[in-house]
């Protein structure tokens, strides 16, 4: 749907490359593309203006004029400037006296309750003793939601039907003190930044508990409103950090830049899924690439690593080293790959592949995957272990069984042989990405 910045700049730069060095109007033309890309990524309009101004200063200056490859230089400046603006990842500051308190605030449905559970799990892994506190007495089953999450993680949850959120906070701190908990994580009701009454309540809660951290939990899909939202929460309640949720989708996440720009608070974590373990560190350079639509190879690698269980990876590695990797293993690998998401989406994360993946509709690539699986599934386990025994009549049987053609079976076997050769040449890391795209 959206052209990525890379593609667009390539278009602009192709023209420029012929002209040689950058002139001021060339820079402006390129910056127009940058501006549009950022707007499409939901970066706030005013923030974009400021950002482009900064880039322009650097791009029009000597740096670019003197450089031999101005096109690449502009991309580098944009990416670098964006990375700088996103800032260094923030860490939780729990240096004060125990029990510490962390308060999660934000709009309705942004992910506060889920994130509270994620933080509790994270902190327990860091050796803390967390207590979850349910203060949302208004939304139906909001307390039950936190209780269920706490029970699953075996982390205690404090809450009280009926009490006022401020009173619950005070009692929860008492409980934390008595129970020797080291950190209390306060989940709060979702509220609009323009709702004076509920914003006032938040201020009251904050005054009562003097939290070590007040974290804004914001949805990565937020649009132009992000700036107002961050301004209001920051001015009224005083934020110490940001957690950006639902980054596991395909939102470009420009809101993060807007929020960061207007509040100045650091981004502390990213929410990458619904499960309590789906909380990740934030990497400014990767988020910058994502906002620019420039692919995200590192995330891809991490995802691959997460879905290939370690032992399995070791097993495969061993097989490859000894050149005993067969179609049975290949089938298993394919299944792992499927767990990472649709192929087209994975391809989008690879720089340069983004445009390719757009040309191939998702159905095509995913259908190819299905076809390959069907072919392998139609083989006997002996054939998978030793593809060399597959002759004409076996190919016919496999093609019939998988609803494909003999040519397609041949093609797969050919590709597999290629892949085996390639693998032998690889000095092997933990995951073999090339096999994914060799298919």
């Amino acid at each position: 749907m959206f052209e990525s910045l890379t593609e667009r700049l390539q278009g602009v730069f192709k023209k420029l490359a012929r002209k040689g060095k950058l002139r001021e109007q060339d820079v402006d033309e390129a910056l127009r593309e940058v501006r549009l890309a950022l707007l499409e990524a939901d970066v706030n309009y005013q923030v974009v203006k400021r950002f482009v101004g900064r880039v322009r200063e650097r791009a029009v200056g000597v740096e670019v004029m003197k450089s031999l490859n101005p096109a690449q230089q502009v991309v580098k400046i944009v990416h670098g400037e964006l990375t700088t603006m996103l800032g260094q990842p923030g860490r939780l500051d729990l240096s004060g006296p125990s029990p510490h308190t962390i308060m999660l605030v934000g709009l309705q449905g942004s992910g506060k309750t889920t994130t509270a559970a994620k933080l509790a799990l994270h902190l327990r892994q860091e050796g803390q003793r967390p207590l979850l506190v349910a203060t949302d007495t208004r939304r139906p089953a909001a307390m039950a939601q936190l209780e269920v999450l706490g029970r699953e993680l075996e982390i205690p949850v404090y809450g009280e039907e009926g009490g006022s959120p401020v009173a619950i906070c005070a009692q929860a701190l008492e409980r934390a003190r008595k129970g020797a908990y080291s950190v209390a994580i306060l989940d709060t009701q979702g509220r609009l930044h323009i709702d004076q009454k509920l914003m006032g309540e938040l201020v009251e809660m904050k005054d009562r508990v003097s939290p070590d951290e007040v974290l804004l939990v914001a949805d990565a899909m937020t649009g132009q409103d992000a700036v107002r939202l961050a301004q209001e929460f920051h001015q009224q309640v005083g934020l110490t950090g940001l957690i950006l949720t639902k980054i596991d989708g395909d939102a470009r996440g420009g809101a993060a830049l807007s929020i960061r720009a207007v509040s100045g608070v650091p981004i502390k974590f990213l929410g990458t899924g619904e499960k309590p373990s789906a909380l990740e560190a934030f990497h400014p350079d990767r988020l910058a690439s994502r906002i620019l639509g420039m692919g995200d190879i590192l995330t891809l690698i991490e995802r691959a690593e997460a879905s290939f269980e370690e032992e399995e990876a070791r097993r495969v590695e061993e097989k490859l080293r000894t050149a005993t990797f067969d179609l049975e293993d290949f089938r298993q690998q394919l299944q792992q790959v499927k767990r990472m998401g649709p192929l087209s989406q994975l391809m989008e994360m690879i720089p340069g592949f983004a445009s390719l993946s757009r040309q191939l509709p998702q159905e095509v690539t995913d259908q190819q995957m299905k076809k390959i699986e069907a072919i392998i599934n139609s083989m006997t386990s002996e054939e998978r272990r030793n593809p060399r025994i597959i002759g004409g009549s076996r190919k016919r049987r496999i093609a019939r069984g998988s609803g494909t053609t003999i040519q397609e079976v041949n093609q797969l076997l050919g590709q597999f042989r290629q892949m085996q050769k390639l693998m032998k040449r690889l000095t092997f890391g933990r995951v073999d990405i090339s096999s994914i795209f060799g298919t």
């Binding site: 749907m1 449905g109 309750t113 936190l146 269920v148 596991d248 989708g249």
Partner: protein, 302 residues
């Protein structure tokens, strides 16, 4: 009809970007700076780059062709264009006979469960017998949440255990709906990001389960979008549309935004009708979408 709450929500929108557009186009002559500023304001209202550019190109063409000079004329043209974008032929309407099944889908936290409660109230007000199905068996306490709404509404909720098969819930709910002579069955589903292949496949399956019990079911598939969402709403709509043939959009949380422009982007680029808007967390905070009133509301003098 839009109620007072919608007007209030729109007032906020009006005071910001659309209000500024009205101001910009209130007087003076058409010139390059005006187009530039109009573009900026539309983008800031979340209308989206693509839709904004298309709208402005069409306006410029007509202004040139008809030799118009007054900014005021542009305002009327823009209003007409916006109205046209969000005007659709009638959406499917609940019939008198048989069970009318509504499948409600959307990304995580967009407002599905709450909007379902509002829709139940909406149909109750029309004298319909409503049944709810708790097919979000995944998210913690999602079933409890729907059950509480059911209690408040006095509406039965068909539910299984947490972690159960959502398809089985739908199967049972349709059976129960038929046995109890319910007229409208509204199905709550787990929030899912449109990019998750398996979860979207599951949604297709849920659709098939419904169709297996009542051939024309689900008669409606409503996508709930969060009004504060930016350009990603377009991608969401596109993917859900492809997976389960969305028949209408419910824009939740309109009270939280000073924009509302995404409504135009979705209608223009995807052609899915906007059917309802949500303007708060209470049962009565629902309004049927009305193109004329919506656009007039955005541009009205405050």
């Amino acid at each position: 009809m839009f109620g007072k709450r919608v007007q209030q929500s729109l007032t906020r929108t009006r005071h910001s970007y659309f209000g500024r557009i009205r101001g910009l186009l209130a007087r003076g002559e058409v010139n390059e700076a005006l187009w530039q500023e109009l573009e900026e304001l539309l983008i800031q209202a979340d209308v989206g780059v693509g839709t904004t550019v298309a709208l402005i190109e069409a306006l410029r063409e007509r202004v040139d062709k008809e030799g118009l000079r007054q900014a005021r004329a542009v305002r009327e043209m823009l209003k007409d264009d916006l109205k046209r974008v969000v005007t659709f032929s009638e959406s499917p309407r609940c019939r008198e006979d048989g069970l009318w099944v509504i499948l409600v889908v959307g990304v995580n936290g967009s407002g599905k469960t709450t909007s379902i409660a509002k829709l139940a109230r909406y149909y109750q007000d029309k004298g319909r017998k409503v049944l709810l199905a708790a097919a979000d068996t995944f998210r913690a306490a999602a079933i409890d949440q729907l059950k509480i709404w059911g209690q408040r509404l006095g509406v039965d909720v068909v539910a299984h255990q947490p972690g159960g098969d959502p398809g089985a819930v739908i199967y049972d709910a349709i059976e129960a709906g038929q046995a109890r002579d319910a007229e409208v069955l509204i199905i709550d589903t787990a929030g899912r990001l449109h990019t998750k292949y398996n979860l979207m496949e599951e949604l297709k399956k849920l659709r098939r389960v419904a169709a297996g019990r009542v051939p024309e079911a689900p008669q409606e598939v409503i996508l709930v979008l969060d009004a504060t969402t930016g350009q990603n709403a377009l991608t969401q709509a596109k993917y859900f549309q492809e997976a389960v043939e969305v028949t209408g959009v419910f824009v939740a949380k309109l009270d939280g935004t000073a924009k509302g422009g995404i409504v135009f982007a979705i209608a223009k680029e995807l052609g899915i009708p906007i059917q309802y808007v949500g303007t708060g967390e209470r049962l009565e905070d629902l309004a049927e979408f009305d193109a004329e009133e919506f656009v007039e509301g955005l541009f009205a003098e405050s």
